[in-house]
């Protein structure tokens, strides 16, 4: 059984990136909270899971990804409607003071919501976690080439979706 301080250390070190990843994946605050709690309860109950783990972050992202996939499967088709609706409203980004930035973040959040979950997960891990394709592949249990191609495909879609706004902001700068 890990000591309470060890769980606290884990939480302080990894809760923020796990939160952002899960929020981007599920597009739902309540689900994100449930999943985050599920992960830390699991770690507290089964400390042997961490034995021999070299990269804690990658391991935790894998746990988070599997838990999120399970949740989405449990939800079923009816709940996907809710998810699609949430994709339009939930933002994974911090609020911005600058109006242009605010609009860009809203549009980006919306565009991310339109991506399939697997592509969204890869984009998130590459752009906001700075993971390599090898690490992403290991975390999501897919081949590195698949991770790279899905990333390119998703980025093209984001760029196409945000192009007018992005070009406008570039001109203004």
């Amino acid at each position: 059984m890990p000591r309470a301080t060890e769980i606290e250390r884990f939480y302080d070190a990894h809760a923020q990136p796990l939160f952002a990843f899960l929020l981007n994946f599920t597009r739902d605050d309540a689900d994100t909270r449930d999943l985050l709690q599920e992960i830390f309860v699991k770690l507290a109950r089964e400390p042997e899971l961490l034995h021999g783990v070299r990269e804690e972050r990658a391991f935790l992202i894998r746990l988070a990804h599997n838990a999120a996939i399970d949740l989405i499967r449990r939800r079923g088709t009816r709940e996907r409607t809710k998810e699609n609706f949430a994709a339009e409203t939930i933002s994974v980004f911090a609020p911005a003071n600058d109006p242009d930035e605010k609009i860009f973040r809203e549009e980006l959040a919306f565009a991310l919501g339109e991506l399939p979950e697997e592509q969204r997960a890869i984009v998130h891990l590459k752009l906001w976690e700075g993971l390599t394709f090898d690490s992403i592949a290991a975390a999501l249990d897919i081949p590195p080439n698949t991770a790279a191609s899905r990333y390119r495909y998703a980025l093209d879609k984001l760029r196409g979706r945000l192009r007018p706004l992005y070009e406008e902001m570039k001109k203004a700068e």
Binding site: Y11, F19, V41, W128, L155
Partner: protein, 145 residues
């Protein structure tokens, strides 16, 4: 040129700050995790239930509608079975044994019928053909005679 633009776009995206995890979650989640480590009976029970729930979800999630349909069919079969069972005493009441008058009448008709057709010669039909093994020579004698 195209690659430069793409890299700029990537950098632009990666600069967007992400939302922070709500501060109040820390206490709640850590409390739940600490409770989860206690070897209390409640924890064990909830652990068992969550495991059972997880196992059932794993089994049922691929085709929940199909499983629900199958369950509905079984419920219907059980319902029909029980309703049939309820009706069985009624049926037995309907087919209660005949009254002594009816029995007497039937016996009377049976007697009359027997008198009309005479005694039945059942002996030939029912008589079993006895077969006693004999020497082959005797059988040939019988045939020739």
């Amino acid at each position: 040129m195209m690659n430069d633009e793409m890299e700029q776009f990537e950098r632009r995206l990666s600069r967007q700050p992400l939302r922070k995890v709500p501060g109040e979650w820390r206490g709640e989640i850590l409390a739940a995790a600490t409770v989860g480590t206690r070897p209390a009976s409640n924890a064990v029970r909830s652990g068992f239930l969550s495991t059972l729930n997880h196992q059932l979800s794993t089994i049922f999630w691929p085709h929940p509608k199909a499983w629900a349909g199958l369950a509905a069919v079984w419920i219907f079969i059980f319902a029909v079975n029980f309703s049939m069972r309820d009706k069985s005493p009624v049926i037995s009441e309907k087919f209660s044994p005949p009254s002594p008058e009816v029995v007497a009448e039937l016996k009377q008709q049976q007697r009359m019928f027997a008198e009309l057709i005479g005694p039945r010669d059942i002996y030939d039909a029912d008589r079993s053909k006895s077969y006693a093994p004999r020497p082959r020579s005797e059988r040939v004698e019988i045939l020739t005679a």
